[in-house]
Symmetry: C2
Subunit: 351 residues, 2 copies
Amino acid sequence: MSTIYHVPKVHFGKNSLSELSSILDNFKNNLIIIDKNLINHASLNILKNNNFSLISVDTSTEPSVDYVDELSLQVRNIINLECVVGIGGGSSLDIAKALANLYTNPGSAALYQGWDLLNNPSLYTVGIPTLPGTGAESSKTCVLLNKVKNLKLGMNSQYSVFKEVICDSNLLKSIPKNLFFYTVMDAFFHCMELLNGFFRSPFSDAYAQQALKLIDDIFSSDDPMSDVNLEKAMLASFLGGSAIANSYVGIIHPLSAGLSTVFGTPHSVANCIVMQAMEEYYPKEYNLFMSYKEKNNYTLPTGITKNLSNEEYLKLYQSSICHQKPLINALGEDFENILTLDKVVNLFKMM
Amino acid sequence: MSTIYHVPKVHFGKNSLSELSSILDNFKNNLIIIDKNLINHASLNILKNNNFSLISVDTSTEPSVDYVDELSLQVRNIINLECVVGIGGGSSLDIAKALANLYTNPGSAALYQGWDLLNNPSLYTVGIPTLPGTGAESSKTCVLLNKVKNLKLGMNSQYSVFKEVICDSNLLKSIPKNLFFYTVMDAFFHCMELLNGFFRSPFSDAYAQQALKLIDDIFSSDDPMSDVNLEKAMLASFLGGSAIANSYVGIIHPLSAGLSTVFGTPHSVANCIVMQAMEEYYPKEYNLFMSYKEKNNYTLPTGITKNLSNEEYLKLYQSSICHQKPLINALGEDFENILTLDKVVNLFKMM
C-alpha cells in the first residue's frame, strides 16, 4: 500500500506561462522566487499589473538550511502572504516550496528535514520549471543541504507538493545543448534507478516507464531540442518526479552526491559522470545512455576523479555510502559488503 | 496548451481501504454514498466508530438529473456537511461528486451540465471505486442523464475532481468474470479512442499509452484477475480516467450511447458490443479486443440490434450522431457525411 501525491492542476504546453498573471490575481499578496540568472526573464515582463514581491536566489551552490533560514526571516515579514511562486531549476523550486512551508511552520528549516514533520499546511504554491529533469515540479519534497549534520535531506511532506504547476516548453529553448542532456538525464536516472530497485509501486513504475519512453523518443530523434521534444522533456520530467516521489533511486544518485559533496559538481552533470562507471550494475541503461550521448555528441567533464589522494577517495566513499535508503533499494541490506571502499574507489577511478 | 487536473492524494494497493476511517475523522459531518448492492459491503464494517450519514443509491439505470436533484434535497438538509464519500462503480462515484457540488451550488444539477459552470468549490470528496475501468475516480466530470433535453452531459469542472481516492484492489475480487472484462475495456476504449483522435495532448497520450500497456498485460496473462492484475486494472482505470478527462473519445462511445439510450444497455457492455463492428475504423485495436475476448472466453450479448424496425434504427442513429465532439475528434468536421444513416444502420446490424 502506498499514498501517491499529485500536483492538482498543471498548465501544460507552449505559452502556458500566460496563466501566471490570473493565478496571482487570486491572492492578496504573492511572492515570486526566481533564480538570479533569470531576473530579466520574459516571464516577469508579463506581470507588470500584478501585485507581488520578488526575491532572486543564488543557485550557484545547492540550497542549504542556512540560506533558506536567512531568506525566511525576510519572507516571514511579508504580511498576509498567500502564494509563493518558484521560477527556475530544481533549486529555485525547492527554495520556493521550503519558504512557503516555513511561513506557516515556525523555526528553522532543519526542524522539518525528514518525513511528515510539517504540522501546518503551507501557503498556496506555484512551480514554473525552466530546466526539465529535476522533477522538483512534481515531487513531494524540497531538498536542502544541512551543513551541521553533513547531510542532504528534504522536507518530505504532502505540503511540499506544488498546488499548481506551469510547464511551458518555450521556457526551455535557450538551455545550452550539454546542459539539456544532463538535466533530462536526471529524469532518466530517477526512472531507471527506481525500476531496477527492490521497492516498487505500480504507480511509480507506470510513470517511470512512460517517462523513459519519452526520453528515448527525444534522444533517438535528429533534433532533441525540437518543439515537440521540448514538450516531451517537460512531461518526462514531471512524470519522473511523480515516480520518484513515491520510490527510491539506486546507486547512481549516492555516488553522484559524493561528487557534489566533495567537488561541488552540480547534481545533473555529476549523475552523468557516475553513469560512465555503471555498466556492471545497469548494463541496458548504460548502453542507452552512451548511445544518446554519442549520437548527439554531448560531452562530459572527464578525469575529475583520477589521481586523487587516499584521503580524497575516502571522503568520496563516505559521502556516497551514507545514502542508505537508495543503496538498500538497489543492492539490499548487504550493500556495504558489495560497495566496499576498494570497490567504490575503483568505480570513481573509472569516471 | 491544456490544463490537466489530478486527484491530489491517492491511496493505492491492497487494504488501502483501511485509510477511510482516519479520513472521516478529519471532518465534523460525513456522507457516504454507496451503491445499494454494496450496502452490506465490508468497507462499511470498518467504520463503526465513525460519524457519517449513509445514502444507498440505485444504479440499475444511469444517474439522471431528476434522481440527483431528489437526493440533493435530502443532502442539503444535512447541517455542516463537510465531506462526501462515493463507494461503487462509475454511477455511484458520479452521484457522490454531483451531490458534493450541489451542496455548495444552488438549484438543479441541470444548471451545471456543461463546462466550468460551477461557481463555488464543492465539499471535500473521496472516491472508492469498486469497478475498474470507468475512470470516474480520476475524471473531472460527473455524467448525468438529462431527460428533458434528451442528453447525457457531465458537470465538467475542476470541482468535480475527487480530492482523495482509495484504490483498493481487494474490492475487485468478487467482480463476475464477464463484467470484469467489460469494465476494464471501458478504460481500453477511452485510451484507444483518444489516441486515434485529432485532439491530442502529450499528458493524455502518456497516460493512455501506459494504461493500454497495463491492460495488455492483464488480458495476455493466464489469470486476468490475479492479485497483480487487479492492481494493474485499478491503475489502468485511474490513468485512463486522467487521460480522457483531458481529451475526447471517438466513434465507439457515441454508438454505445445510442444502445444505452434506446435499449438501456449498460455502458460498459454496450461499448464491447459496438467494438464488434469497429474493424473498419480501429483495425489494430479491434484485433487486440477480439484476442483478449477469445483467449479468456468472455461472452457478449448478441443480436440485440438485429431485425429492428426502421423507426428503431433511426432512433439508434439519432442518439449516436448527436455526440458531435467525439465524432469530430474521430472523423473530423465532416463526420455526418461519413456516418450516414445507412452507414450507421449497417454498423448496428453487424453487432
